[in-house]
């Protein structure tokens, strides 16, 4: 997208004009980089529980749910994953590490009050489930890069840039995007396939990431770009 449409995103109604003006020097063209892989951050069951309702109404019964925000992203995310699959782009998922005897008490991706989670709480939500050939990364902290072999996998596949989607915008998505940037990757973060528990925190974090570290892009732009790849001859080779 051209620089004049740099602020054409969901945060427009939440960010005051003086803040937009302050960040004017960050405006630039946004794009999907060469040889991309798709990272799907933390599409696990608990964030969809309780249905498409405001998280505040259902979080007592369904801790950590993103409710309506999670559900609004399901169809766009299906489209994104399908487009990546058609294009032959490598697809990585991540979720919390539930492998036995592998994690000291207190090691987690946030400092939230603890809940007695079960493994199935962190299985990938079935409508977006990984397929044969996808790679699932198990992590213990916020970033997909921290304490995982993902750099090795990306190098092995010759991946040079990343398309990111997932949740939460303020937590694991933000941590993963900053680490990806720090590791030298160009990152395109897909707005409609990224969510959090509250609109304000989602918008402000997208604003931060977009200006400093990644290109926040709309689903249709990314899908159109992936559609231009011919017959799946992308990074996997």
């Amino acid at each position: 997208m051209t620089p004049d449409r740099f602020e054409d995103h969901c945060w427009k109604d939440a960010v005051p004009q003086d803040l937009i003006d302050l960040y004017a020097p960050y405006a630039r063209e946004t794009f999907v980089g060469p040889k991309p892989a798709l990272l799907c951050i933390d599409f696990y069951n608990i964030v969809y529980r309780g249905g498409a309702k405001p998280p505040l109404e259902i979080q007592d019964e369904h801790p950590n749910t993103c409710g309506m925000y999670a559900h609004a992203s399901i169809e766009p995310t299906k489209k994104l994953i399908a487009a990546a699959r058609m294009a032959g782009v490598p697809i990585f998922y991540c979720t919390q590490d539930f492998r036995p005897m592998n994690r000291p008490a207190g090691v987690g991706s946030t400092k939230r009050q603890k809940v007695a989670w079960k493994k199935e709480d962190f299985d990938i939500y079935e409508p977006l489930a990984p397929q044969e050939g996808d790679v699932v990364i198990y992590k213990q902290r916020a970033s997909i890069f921290q304490g995982t072999p993902i750099i090795s996998h990306l190098n092995y596949l010759g991946v040079q840039s990343l398309i990111v989607c997932g949740e939460s915008t303020s937590g694991c998505v933000r941590a993963s995007c900053v680490d990806a940037y720090s590791n030298g990757f160009h990152v395109s973060l897909v707005e409609e396939c990224t969510f959090d528990r509250h609109e304000l925190i989602h918008k402000i974090n997208l604003f931060d990431l977009h200006h400093k570290y990644v290109d926040v892009m709309h689903l249709d732009e990314v899908v159109q770009h992936l559609g231009s790849f011919s017959e799946g001859k992308v990074a996997a080779e």
Partner: protein
């Protein structure tokens, strides 16, 4: 292959095991290499070729004359890479004047408390040798631990440059070379170690570490073979630093 530098250190059983176990196969070259020059500084080389037992009186980490045999080899590799605009990335150490950040190093050497800057020439031991001084388009990663990757931006630079492989030279074969090679291997970079472009202060360590790396992690090759390969790498593969505004010696 003809006799290797490590053969004379191996037992007959060792040779039989290597032959039978499948290790030591030659992996493919990558297509987008970077040259790594690990820690070729005054602390490891001294200011001039001096027998090692003499040299280590001043520079306790010196590798003596072996360093000076490798330096012309490293010069040729650097020259060829610069001609073809292949990335040349140096590492060297970095330390506070009071040595506090020596950390674990001080646990294993009883001359560690010696100040890092030494008298006489007033050379900083961590300064990269004038003979192979970094140029304006080269990169220098400053490190504190053996691996060139540990606590440095090296991985992010290789990513930005789109490198799929590293060609490793410098010192010491058993220490920082091996640590860097292992990390590169773990991150799925193709690894070549230049046999005559690496050196160590211990001859047996040099040979056996080359043997280990060749068996498991890297192709250990003579510089002539590596130069042939580098001459075949197409021009213009890399978006190197422009060098604009840099001093001639990037490490200064």
């Amino acid at each position: 292959m003809s006799e290797r530098i490590w053969d004379k250190f191996l037992t007959e059983r060792d040779k039989a095991v290597f032959a039978a176990s499948g290790y030591g196969a030659q992996g493919a070259w990558g297509e987008r290499p970077a040259l790594l020059v690990i820690d070729v500084n005054y602390a490891f080389c001294g200011e001039r070729p001096t027998p090692i037992l003499e040299s280590i009186k001043k520079w306790r980490t010196s590798c003596g004359e072996d360093a000076w045999e490798a330096i012309p080899v490293i010069q040729r590799l650097i020259g060829t890479c610069r001609e073809r605009a292949i990335p040349v990335i140096y590492t060297t150490g970095q330390r506070r004047a009071d040595n506090w950040d020596s950390g674990s190093w001080s646990w294993k050497n009883n001359r560690r408390s010696e100040a890092p800057k030494v008298d006489g020439s007033n050379r900083d031991g961590n300064a990269i040798m004038d003979e192979i001084a970094p140029g304006p388009r080269d990169l220098v990663a400053l490190k504190q631990k053996p691996s060139g990757f540990f606590g440095t931006p090296l991985q992010s630079w290789l990513q930005l440059l789109g490198c799929d492989s590293v060609i490793v030279t410098g010192t010491t074969t058993s220490g920082c070379i091996r640590a860097t090679v292992l990390d590169a291997f773990s991150m799925n970079y193709r690894v070549t170690v230049v046999e005559d472009g690496c050196f160590d202060r211990a001859q047996a360590s040099h040979a056996i570490n080359l043997c280990d790396m060749n068996a498991k992690y890297a192709n250990v090759l003579h510089s002539e073979e590596v130069l042939d390969y580098l001459r075949g790498v197409p021009q213009g593969l890399f978006d190197l630093p422009s060098g604009s505004g840099m001093t001639q010696n990037a490490a200064e």
